[in-house]
Structures are given as structure tokens and as C-alpha cells.
Amino acid sequence: MDGIFKRILERLRAYRVPGYYEKFDHKWTMVVDLDRCNGCEACVTACYAENNIPVVGKEQINNSRQMSWIRIERYVDGEYPNVKVKFIPIMCQHCSKAPCETACPVYATYHNQDGLNVQVYNRCVGTFTCATYCPYDVRRFNWFTYKWDKPLDEQLTPDVTVREMGVMEKCTFCIQRIRAAKDRAKDEERTLKDGDVIPACAQSCPTGALSFGDLQDPNSMVSKLAKSPRRYRLLEELNTEPSVIYLKRIMDNGDESH
């Protein structure tokens, strides 16, 4: 009995301690080329459609309670006429050393064997701690049980849970697509190959700014892109080791512009 108890405790600690896993099955990674991204927000709508994200309405937007899992942030430098605008898509960074994971009192968020930061809705009791710890502001809290006016609910995908009030949610790297791809690969008796998994945002991206794949596979597109000299990670100084790699935008300042 004592042994079982110890084993369970050990498992829980595994979820709790960042970097506990020595070896991941996969290291899912997204590469965002900021020089390609034009801020068109096709990814945002794709995410709404894929992940049953509710529309909250004007009042809740005013309370900063929009539920989008991916957003385009826009930064403006300078004054007229030397205005420089920069766009950046921000979604859950799936940090290898995620601050949110150490914070959750009920282990609702943990790191899985694929290197993903996952959220277990059934465990979540809504303490909001993870959202407070997250430096990227990507966690979204269900302040209400949102309703879809009939028959808009016919569009809801059965692949993804519809969340209820009091639950924290966030980008999952489209884990349902990862699962489906793994199942397909298993049925076809092969291992996953590059391009098997494409999250909704990357699929819809018109400019090809988003790439997704396994960083452990040295021949995958993301492995190649990750070696780019333009690479950086968001707020890298916090040492969260995000799984999202950004490629710097090329932008001339001052004299070149008007």
C-alpha cells in the first residue's frame, strides 16, 4: 500500500517539477516567421472554428474577457509620418519550464510526454493562479457558461470539449489533431512524419508564417527553421524555454522611411 502511495506521489511530482522528463516522445514546436506575418488574423478565426471558442460580446470585451486562444498583438513606434507598426501572433508558448504548471494547486495543468503544456478541464477548479503566473497572458478564464444562439451550436466540433464556467483554457497546439494524426499513423503502422500534424492556425495562414512540427526530428521543417540566425523566443530572459520560436522581422528604421 505504502509503495503505491509513493508511486502516485512520484508521478504527481513529475508533473510538478519543470524539466522532470528526460526524454520526450515529441517536442512539438511552432515557428512564427514575423517577416511573413502580415497580421491578417485568419489564424484567429480558424482557432475559433476549430476549438469551439465562445463569442463573449461587447460588454465582456470591455472587461478584457475575450476568449481567443491566439491573438495578433500590434505595436506602434514613432509619430506621424514616421510610424512603424509591428504585428506578432501570440498563443500559448508551451514552455518547457512553464510557470503555470508549478502554480496549479490541483495539477490541472501539466507537461505531457509530447512536450505540450496541457490543461485538464475536469481537474480545474478555477483558482486563476496559472493565468497570474503566465507572463504571456494567453490563459483564458470562463467567467460564464457561454451560450451559442441556436442553430449556431450545430457548428460546434465534437472533437473538442465545450468548456463551462469556472474553467481555465488556452491554446493546446490543437491536441485533437495531434491525437488524430497519431491514431492514423498507428493504423497505417508507421511513425509520425513531418507534416502529419498541422494546427488550425498554421493550416489557414495565407502567408505561410506559421510552421509546426517536431523539433526532435532533425529533418522536420521546424528543426531547419529553428536554426535560423533570426530566431528568438518571447521574453527569453524569463527562462521559461517556450516551444514557440519567432523569426525576427526585417525592418529598417529612420532614414529609409519617409
Binding site: G39, E41, A49, Q66, Y80, T157, G208
Partner: protein, 753 residues
Amino acid sequence: MKRRDFLKFIGVGGAGAGLGFIFGRAQKPPGAKLIPYLIPPEDIIPGAASWYATLCTECGAGCGVLVKIMEERAKKIEGNPLHPVNKGGLCSRGQAALQALYNPDRIKGPLKRRGARGSADFVEVSWDEALDVLGQKLGELKKTGFAEKLWFLTAPLSGHRLKLLTTFMSAHSSPNLVQYELFQHRELAYANQTTMGIEEIPHYDIANTNYMLSFGADFSGTWLSPVNFSRGYGEMRQGRHRKNRGRLVQIEPRLSLTGANADEWVPVRPGSEAILALSIAYTMVERGYYRGGDASAWRSLLSSYRPSEAALATDISAEKIEELSKKFAGSKPALAIAGDGALSYTSGVSCAAAVNILNHLAGSIGVKGGMLINSGGLLGKERIDFKKGIGSLLDAANSSKVDALILYNTNPLYTTPKAANAKESLNKIPFIVSLSGFIDETTAMADLVLPAHHPLEDWGDGFASPSVGYPVTTVMQPMVSPVNNTRGFGDIFLALASKMGGGVKERLKSDSFEDYLKSGWKELYNRNRGLSAGTLGFEDFWKKMLANGGWWREAEPKRQAAVSLKGAKQMLPSRPAVFEGNEKEYPFYLVLYPHHGFGDGRHANLPWMQELPDPMTSVTWGSCLEVNPKTASGLGIKEGDFVEVESPFGSITLQAYLYPGIRPDMVAVAIGQGHTHFGRYAKDRGVNPIDILPYKEDPRTGSVALNSTRVKLVHMGTGEKLAKTEGVTRELGRNIVQTITSEEFKKMGKEVI
């Protein structure tokens, strides 16, 4: 409860249940309504998705899409990776088509007017009754010899839906088929026809260009074929096949989404884009960058656009014009484009022509990385009738030349200025029929509503416009069974034809639109064996086409064109763009642009689009007035304050947003909000800036200029919080979006891939 009572209760209940069962069986035989899932409908495996290919009709670009179907419900729309226009990508608006399909405010079935016109008070009628009424009316018109008093106003259509409609109208002997929408790019088509003699809008090969001058073209957002152009933009920046990175210069008074991505922003004075383009062209000839034999003729033609003079008109220094000219001529291939921003002035046609001249002088017509000339589709040319704009309909209605009007997918009451008095004109039409799926402003005026299927429920096809250098046809097929009691667009006409008699039915030769479409394609197939290279029978060809989403064959575009001196001469602007209102009383230019999510307002009823933050202001669920912060502080306006925008033709009141990417002498408002009907998500939300525009149709193109008035601003006092998603817009040294200069990028050398 005693044990005995309990047993009695159970006994009675049980007998009742048994009787109910027996009566139930007697009433309807088992299986009449309920089919066990052991015998599932075709293609249904619970939990497994099937994907079908179809055409996206949310704008005119003609992208191919795949729709994810699970248990007979459409779940998600994605770009078709095989399709040459969008190659797998899809914009927000295309993806949001699902919310139109399952919209709670869709019209559930045919309606007949009960209340006053415009009150949207309808009663439901059956299809038979509705078609009878309409068929009788049209039959009467034909019998009494007033067939030409039937008018048809539709959003631009293509393929067999257009063919059916044209045949229907000509069988009814009415020439009055008007294809109309707010952003129809008539200026572009007209200028191309006059200067180059081509009717088709060319393919802009952004992916392969080295230097791009974009005159007000928001090709990342809403212009022409945004997904195709965005793909090109991505390739231009970091395409793996490229040696160097292409540069983009955006010339526009208000920084659009595309402008925000440009390397340079040239904030030209509103309405002077054509002059700037011609001045760049003049410099190219003057400096000898253009070496054609007719250089001297071009020089004399363009001599009134010297940079020193153009600088005064455009607010752009002569040195800057020289520099742009040098770079444009020096980086081959270079490309100039003119978008909605520059075409929406009274001088819009001239700007389109000026840009053609630029491309001609730079040798960019018909070359890779320039303008690739499209040839007509498989069904022949689908030309814009410049004589038939919205004005022709309103004029005819005013002089009582319209007895019946049928509307499809178009909302002229929303898209024409109040000054056009469209409502009064429509009121003079005795009989209005709408085929719209929603009660929009114009449908509210209808006497009869025959709701057509949503395109995801219907058959059809369409040709991409602009195409990608070779013809691309996309087939539209039903994805789901109809959600409401609606009918297919083509099927409505086929049913109507048999009701109205007069030989219309005989001309159409089909019982269902599906047959019509298929036999139309069979004809094409027989006529043009190259379609399948002779290897497939028609049935196999048809099946393959439905599976792939359409028909296309990649080919190098070979068609050439050139700008003729004579054509160019006709199109040079005789005077700068006209703005109504004098400068003293109305100090600011008003510039309108299509909203990123709503286009010309047609998507304002989709909750996803309402909640999608505007890419430049991040405002949701409403309208805002974009004002330069300096101008605003001069007037004491803070963000969220209510401001009355007054033009000589009316006024609107909306909240201000301080936007640094706009000239201080102008304000801008997005088109799309301010509906008075159109369902719960759109109704009474924001303002419609088109209301306060002057109404003057360009006699050459039949379009109405949007940027054609000056306004004054009146501060109406402090307002509430603006519903927006952004927080601080400055980076404040957090280094979130990191950048490198192009010099540093060059030093990095060829990247790993």
C-alpha cells in the same frame, strides 16, 4: 405508500404504457420517422469527419475550400491545398461562412409582406404560393409587352449561375440584368480596357517581384484576392526560391493593414495618388530609365506632371519622387498596383491608368514578377457592363420604368449614400422580390422573399477573378442538407420558368439546376477535349472535378499587352479628385475603407467577425472614427469621446480612436457597421459612413466614388470606453517584436533554408 397501492400503481402505469405503445404503433408504422443508426445514412460514421471541396463565395476572389462535415453538419472551412488561387490558406471571412449558414437570423422560408414597406413585417407562405405570385406577375409583364420592365439586381456572379440568369432574362426578353456591388473594381476594369485593351483583371505576381509600389491597395486585407496576394506577400519576403527579399512601398493617406507591413509609407494627400504615379512615370522617362522608341512621346504626354509641380499637389517632396522613380525603374521585376484606396476617388480611373503606365514603362506587363495578363474563362468573357450600375436602376425606377425588381445577394440601401434617395426610388417600384437569406435593409422593402440556399447548400460554379494567369474554375456543391426551408438559386428560376410560361422553360432545358450545371459541363467537356487530355470519360471527369474542387491546368501565362499612348492620353486626369464641401467650413478629408471582417458590410451579422479585433485599431462590436492624435488634441478629443462627423450631406456620430497612422488633415471610418436591419448581431451597431457621402456616378464606369467629401468634426463630449482588445500599443523596451535591419539580414547570408 402501502405495498398494495404501489403494485396497483405499477399495474395501471404499465397497462397505460402498453396501450400507448400499441396506439403509437397503430398511428405510424415503425421506421416511418425513426431509422435506427444501425443503417446510417451514406458517408456518416459517428466521430469521423469527411471533407468535401467547394467554392468560397464570401467575396469575389473565388478561392477553393474544403468543408469538414461530421454527422451532416458543417464544422470547419479550410482552404483547398490543391486550389491554385489560395493554395490551402483562407481568410477570416471565408472561414466565417459557417456562421452565415447556421445563423439564427436566417430567413426560415418564403415570406410575403404584411406591414408597411421597410417595416420587415412578413408572413410565411409556401413555396408554391410564392412562386405562383411571382410567376404570374412575370407572365403578365411578358404578355402585356412590358417584359423589359423586369429588372434583376445581383452581386457579381460567374459560371453557370450567371449563364442561367442571363438565359432566363433573355428568354423573358428583358435586358436589365445589373451586376452590382460596392467594391466591384469597375475603375480597374475600365482603365485596363482603355489603356491596354484587356477586360480581365490581371494577376499581380507579388511572389516574384523585387519592388512594389502599392497605391492604396490593401491586398493583405480586403482587396481583390487577399489570400492569393497574402501568399504572394509571404513568398516575396521570405520565399525559399528567392535570392533576395522584395520591398514594398505603400502610398496611401491612411495606413492600412498592408501599409503597416510595408518597408516605407508615403502618406500622400488624399486624391493625388494619380498625380504622384504620373510624376514617377514622368521622372522615369525624363531620367532615361525608360528606353523605348516612343520615349519622347511619353515625355510630352506626361510633361505636366513634373516632380516639382507634383510635389505641391501631393505633399510628397520632389526628391522623394525622384527616389521612388529610380528604385522602381532600377529593381526588376518591379510592380505597381492600384487598390480600393486609390480607386475610390472621382479620379479613380485615372489612377488605375497611371499605374498601368508605370508598369508599362518599367517593362512589367506580361513578365514574371509583374502583371500577368489573364485570358477569359472557359465560358467566354464575363464582362462588366459599365452602362449598368446602381444608378441605371435608380434612374429607371424614378421614371417608372421598373415594374418588378428581383434582388440577389445585394443590399443597395446600405451601400448607396442617403443622397441617392434609393429608398424613395425603390418605393416607386410596385413589386420587389428578394432572394436574400437575411432580412437586410433592402430585403425589408421587399413584397416577396424567396430565400435562396446558402452557397454551402447549393450547386454552382465560378471562375476566379482575378485568375492566376491561367483559367481556374471552381465547382460549388452542397455540403449539408438545407438548414431552412430554402431553395437553390438556380432551382428557383427553373421552377419559376415552368410557372410563368412563355417559352422560358424551353430555353432552360433542365428540371434541376444540378442537371443544368452537369449538362453545361458536359458541353464544355465535349467542346474542349483538352479538359481531361482525352483520358477520362465525362462521368469520371465530373467526379474527379467534384473531388478536387474544380478544374484548372497550370500554364505559363503567355498573353502580352501594352499600354497605348492613345489610350493613356484619354485617361490622364483632367483635374484632381473632387471633394465636396469647401476647405474652410469642412477642414478634413473623409476616407472610407472596407472593414477587414465585414467587407462592404455583408458580414456584419457574423458574431466571429464582430468579435474579431480590427487589425489596426483592435476595436470590436462597433465603429470608430480614426483621428490623428495631433488633430485630436487640437480639438480636445480623447479616445472614446463622441464626435459628430458632418459633411454637406449629413452627419454621423461615433467614438474617436486616436490613430497615429493617418494624416492630420483627414479622418477615416470603416464601412460595414450601422445596419438598420440584418439580424441581431448587426442591427443598430455602429454607424454607416456611406450615409453622409455625396452621390455622383462616374458616367464612364457606373461606380460611385467613396472618398469624395470633406467633413467637419464637432466634439460631443466624453464618451464611454471603446470596446477594443489592445492595451498599451508601445513596446516600452520589452523587446517583444524583435527586428533586424535589411543590412544585418544581408550579412546573415543565405539562411539554412
